[in-house]
Amino acid sequence: MRKRKNKLLGFFVVAPTIVAIGIFVYGFISWTIRASTANWNTFARLASGVYESVGFRNYERLFQDPRFQTDLWNTLFFTLFFLTGCLIMGIFLAILLDQKLKGSRIFQNIFLFPMALSFVVTGTVWNWVFMPGTLPGNPAGINVFFGLFGLQSLQWRWFTSTDSIGNFNFALIPVIIAAVWQLSGYTMAMYLAGLRSIPDTLTEAARVDGASAIQTFWKIKFPLLKPITLSAMIILGHISLKIFDLVYAMTGSGPNNVTDVPAIYMFELTFRSNRYSLGSAISVIMLLMVAIVIVPYLLSTMRKEA
């Protein structure tokens, strides 16, 4: 009797949260989807308040738009290299720090502190570091650094470069480096927590059976780290699909949109050129991309719990 009363009461306590999330997440998403099918691409049309469906015309325009095509390719390559970089650095650092060295705490802190910084701050700093200057005579940033060691061959135009292989713009490389710098520590922390939760008895048994350290890692530890790799991929993946601040503060769209991403294009369309419906269409596409990654993950973690 009392339990039932509590359950009812409990529901009333969380009801405001449910309503708030219902409106501010799901209601607003529906509104954005509706806006993406309207013709609100000038301020006057939005102000008129008249909704007239144009179907998927905004989406068609986007997919034919070379800038948006570039954005999608950039997102793909950024995600690919950013994920790979974070996972490799993360597991490598975690293995090094798992060796029970003295002072490993200090190293751990060095790798992890970038995570405490704002993307805006890191973007500002990395912009200064990767500023190419005018080559060959007047280098700046990291190019000067290479020059000090006689490594002129490594000097290039970094985020102002318009070179590419296929659809991969080289200008993304410095942005990827900055993003890996910021989030590889996070990946390391996840792997480290995983490595430390593997019971010593397991690795001890393998050692007694004559397995080398490398064998123990690949045959015993690595398989146990698989779920962590999956979580890390999903968390990092959804960050990279919606990346905005870092690129905005570090490079902006760049020449020929070489470092442009959907979030920046969306921002410019919506807040700089009043093309609300096109902007909304981009955000719906971004939401879909994130949902594809996140929804199965959420459902599977919840099922595991239940």
Binding site: V14, I18, F113, L117, W128, I282
Partner: protein
């Protein structure tokens, strides 16, 4: 064998040292540039240590960013406290008082922390305009409280799951009702979770940019992240001021990290939805 182990150690330390140095490189750059006087800043000497320490950059940065620093403080304190409290009481209900459908509703709430905020931004701004909170810190506080609900609820829920039910049942036999159980039993147990959530919210709200830049258009109302980016947009960039500004914007969260790093890491890991 011991000799080989020694060599291994030296190798390990060398590798860690090299990687650490490269991780710290941008920070070296940040410090070195921010402490130089403007006349000493040139691309050819940008990797040099300052010949003399000058506070010129910091003075200029404080002059330009001071009001925005204040805005960030006025934003982050109420937003963090309110969302922590709401997260705690929500977490209690979703972990201990499971009404029918609680789990599925929780998944729907959780989804809210992963969405790209672009997909709610435009209606959000119109809503804030309608309730006359657009452009104000109040509007930003409300925004951060609402979109912070999923993560704060999640961290508290996971934390309370580990509190044995018997403990709460004992209290309810003593005639304590749901709320007094929460306040008398659960809250005193919650300190570690509160620290994790406060740090998490503080860092995220302080560092946030998208909401800040779109909801506050008046430069006097903008948080420091927006002001920092605008600083770079102005004519010739004074790099010492720019770097000093970046450091000023970073110091509060860095300080939290240095002082409470252990809890910071816990928050990070909780953010990855442990199942």
């Amino acid at each position: 064998m011991p000799r080989r182990r020694n060599w291994n150690r030296i190798l390990l330390y060398t590798i860690l040292g090299i990687i650490s140095a490269s991780y710290l490189l941008p920070i070296y750059m940040l410090l070195a540039t921010s402490l130089k006087p403007l006349r000493d800043i040139g691309v050819s000497t940008m990797w040099h240590l300052p010949r003399e320490v000058s506070w010129e950059g910091f003075q200029a940065a404080f002059q330009r960013l001071g009001p925005n620093l204040m805005n960030s403080i006025l934003l982050v304190i109420p937003a963090t406290l309110i969302s922590t409290f709401l997260g705690s009481i929500n977490g209690y209900i979703f972990s201990k008082i499971k009404f029918p459908g609680a789990n599925i509703i929780f998944v729907f709430i959780l989804f809210g922390m992963f969405i790209p905020y672009q997909s709610i931004l435009f209606p959000l701004i119109q809503f804030l305009q309608n309730i006359r909170l657009y452009g104000s810190l109040g509007g930003l506080i409300l925004t951060h409280v609402i979109y912070g609900l999923p993560i704060t609820t999640l961290i508290f829920r996971n934390y309370y799951m580990d509190v044995p039910d018997e403990m709460l049942e004992a209290a309810s036999i003593d005639g304590s009702n749901m709320f007094s159980t929460y306040f008398r039993i659960l809250i005193p147990l919650s300190i570690p979770a509160v620290v994790v959530v406060v740090i998490w919210q503080f860092t995220n709200i302080w560092n946030e940019f998208l909401f800040a830049v779109t909801i506050t258009s008046d430069p006097t109302k903008q948080p420091i992240t927006v002001a920092l980016v605008n600083l770079a947009g102005s004519q010739v960039i004074q790099w010492n001021m720019q770097m000093a500004g970046a450091l000023v914007a970073a110091i509060p969260t860095l300080l939290v990290y240095v002082l409470l790093g252990k809890y910071f890491i816990r928050g990070l890991l909780a953010g990855s939805v442990k199942g």
